[in-house]
């Protein structure tokens, strides 16, 4: 049995009058790709924001790699090992693609002011390593030729791939991808699926929010379904797709599985 990478139980979050999450839990094991699906407004991104520290949960236990962590400081969560992409793609638009990924290396490197100003040997070596690794990652996701281009000039699909490269640069235990295929055309989705597949084959653990059914079916080992902030089903993509409660949540009561 593979190690548990992420274990969340009882996560709840309230916004004013809305209970956005009620008692949501998830367990992800090393090397798994777990999908988080549900109708719009079900709380998927809220859950993401909670586990990555953007929102402070009202309750819940959170463990990463067996160790408990407090999801309240975003940069601490990143340090602990969750790297995420955003639904609306949040790159550093005026920085080049290469620089974006180099920022991803910030977490695992340490030269500071002194090294920068005096260009010590340690600093120079580290800078070279950072740039090299960043280029590798750009190559890995397939946009190496855009290394010197400002991030905002890249196409939508390439920007998404850049965001993934940047997340990979932080050497995460868990990659959390928030609707990576959102807004993509069919061609871009194929490229994206190949990329996520490659990441999975290289042993990464992935938590994925997605609406695209084909993507979810094709990539995920397991799926958890949320509706109105509550978990309503969990299991293999095949089973979940035929689960009555899930169908009802998406399509309304009275529909049957095909």
């Amino acid at each position: 049995m593979a190690d548990v990478v992420l274990n969340v139980t009882g996560a709840s979050k309230r916004f004013g009058g809305v209970q956005a999450l009620s008692d949501v839990g998830i367990t992800i094991r090393q090397g798994e790709v777990v999908g988080l699906i549900g109708p719009n407004g079900a709380g998927k991104t809220t859950f993401f924001n909670v586990i990555t520290g953007l929102y402070t949960p009202d309750s819940g236990t959170f463990e990463l790699g067996g160790k408990p962590y407090k999801p309240s400081a975003v940069h601490e969560v990143a340090k602990a090992g969750i790297a995420r992409t955003f639904q609306n793609i949040r790159l550093f638009p005026e920085m080049t693609a290469l620089e974006n990924v180099m920022v991803g290396r910030h977490l695992r490197t340490h030269s500071g002011l002194f090294g920068a100003v005096f260009r010590t040997r340690g600093f120079n070596d580290e800078e070279r390593a950072i740039a090299d690794r960043a280029r590798e990652l750009l190559e890995y996701v397939g946009i190496a030729r855009y290394a010197e281009f400002k991030a905002r000039t890249l196409s939508y699909g390439d920007q998404r791939r850049l965001e993934i490269a940047r997340a990979l640069a932080t050497e995460p235990k868990l990659m959390a991808l928030d609707e990576p295929a959102a807004g993509m055309n069919a061609t871009e989705k194929v490229v994206l699926r190949e990329l996520i597949d490659r990441i999975r084959k290289d042993g990464r653990t992935i938590l994925l929010i997605e609406h695209d059914v084909k993507l979810v079916m094709g990539l995920c080992d397991r799926v958890t379904v949320l509706d109105y902030g509550k978990p309503i089903a969990e299991g293999s993509p095949y089973d979940v797709q035929r689960n009555e409660k899930v169908i009802e949540a998406y399509l309304g009561a009275g529909h049957k599985a095909h």
Binding site: T52, T96, R105, L113, A116, E148, D158, R166
Partner: protein, 365 residues
């Protein structure tokens, strides 16, 4: 070949910079003084560029750090404290003459500390709120400098500090405050200061350049571009913002110390809000985040009005316009018009960062 071309440009520029004071001196010491002050502004602009340009933090109270540096040196190297407090006067019967090599690092340190202190409450604030709070800090410091002459006379209030020591290198017997000789040539005091300030500016440019191209510089820019994403990448935005404030403030403090030792007199008037705004204008008009642009902006806003003021004097504009338009008014008018016109014509600044990385072609399927 390209490298050779760059080298030639570099040598030409270096040569021009070296002979500039001699040329200017033909026109009079007045002009060299203007260049000296312009160099101090360049230092300020470079420092503010770290805060506003790299980290994206809009600081409208930057002149406060200039004041910290200036007053630190002014208090430690002038007769004020020994005269105002007999107890101190007894400890230092020959007066307080803190050597410059102690005063500059001390001023830099205190200013840097002040920067972190002033930055701390602003860390959670949105961009424009941050601007107003920093503006407020700047004003608070100015008001205190102006009023801390009672009940205990610490700053001497609006009268300011006089008889501040000049820059002296006692071991070599070199006094920047007096004319002397350099390599057998007669040089005035202002020319000596020119070379001193030029050296400091060159070092500062180097430091900024290196900071820009480093892990810290990239982290600052990430914060500027998207703070949430930066945090998600593990960047400790709080510490880095404090670092940006501190670094920027340090530049301000060093510049302030040099100002005090150059002018030998400081008063709260030199540290008013419009000075903070001037420095911001220099950075933005020049080209935010771009070192050559920032230097250009500083030189333009510092020196050009003086040039035009001189022109108006030559043309005797005051009598032409019946006393309404004099040199000071003209200077103010020109700065105001420059700020508006340049922004309308070139919103990214006169010399912004070159657009490296043009639009990517449409992706192949």
């Amino acid at each position: 070949m390209k490298d050779n071309k760059k080298l030639i440009w570099f040598l030409a520029a270096a040569f021009l910079l070296l002979v500039l004071p001699s040329v200017a001196q033909y026109a009079g010491n007045f002009w060299v003084r203007i260049i000296d002050f312009a160099l101090l502004y360049v230092l300020l602009a470079l420092g503010l560029n770290i805060v506003v340009g790299y980290a994206g933090l809009l600081d409208l109270g930057y002149i406060a750090f200039y004041a910290v540096g200036a007053y630190t040196f002014g208090l430690l190297a002038s007769p004020h404290l020994t005269e105002a407090f007999p107890a101190i006067g007894a400890i230092f019967p020959n007066g307080l003459h803190t050597p410059i090599w102690v005063a500059i690092p001390l001023g830099a340190l205190l200013a840097g500390f002040a920067g972190a202190l002033l930055g701390a409450p602003t860390l959670k604030l949105r961009g424009d709120y941050l601007a107003i709070v920093t503006l407020g800090f700047g004003e608070i410091i100015r008001v205190f400098l102006n009023n801390l002459d009672a009940p205990v006379n610490i700053t001497n209030g609006p009268k300011g500090l006089l008889q501040i020591d000049s820059f002296k290198l006692p071991l070599v017997g070199f006094d920047f405050g007096r004319p002397g000789s350099l390599f057998g040539l007669e040089v005035s005091s202002v020319t000596k200061y020119y070379f001193l300030f030029l050296a400091v500016v060159v070092v500062s440019v180097l430091i900024c350049y290196r900071l820009e191209r480093s892990r810290i510089g990239r982290a600052w820019m990430a914060i500027r571009e998207d703070e949430v994403a930066a945090k998600a990448m593990g960047i400790n935005t709080r510490n880095l913002k404090l670092l940006a404030f501190g670094m920027g403030a340090t530049f301000g403090g060093v510049s302030g110390t040099l100002f005090a030792t150059f002018q030998n007199f400081i008063s709260p008037e030199s540290f008013a809000l419009n000075e903070s705004i001037m420095v911001v204008a220099m950075v933005v008009l020049g080209g935010i985040g771009h070192i050559p642009g920032v230097i250009l902006g500083a030189l333009l806003l510092a020196a050009l009005p003086e040039v035009l003021r001189w022109v108006s004097g030559e043309l005797d504009l005051q009598s032409i316009t019946g006393g309404r338009l004099d040199a000071a008014i003209l200077r103010q008018l020109l700065i105001a018009v420059a700020m508006i016109a340049i922004m309308l014509a070139r919103p990214r600044g006169l010399w912004p960062q070159p657009e490296h990385g043009k639009a990517a072609p449409t992706p192949a399927s």
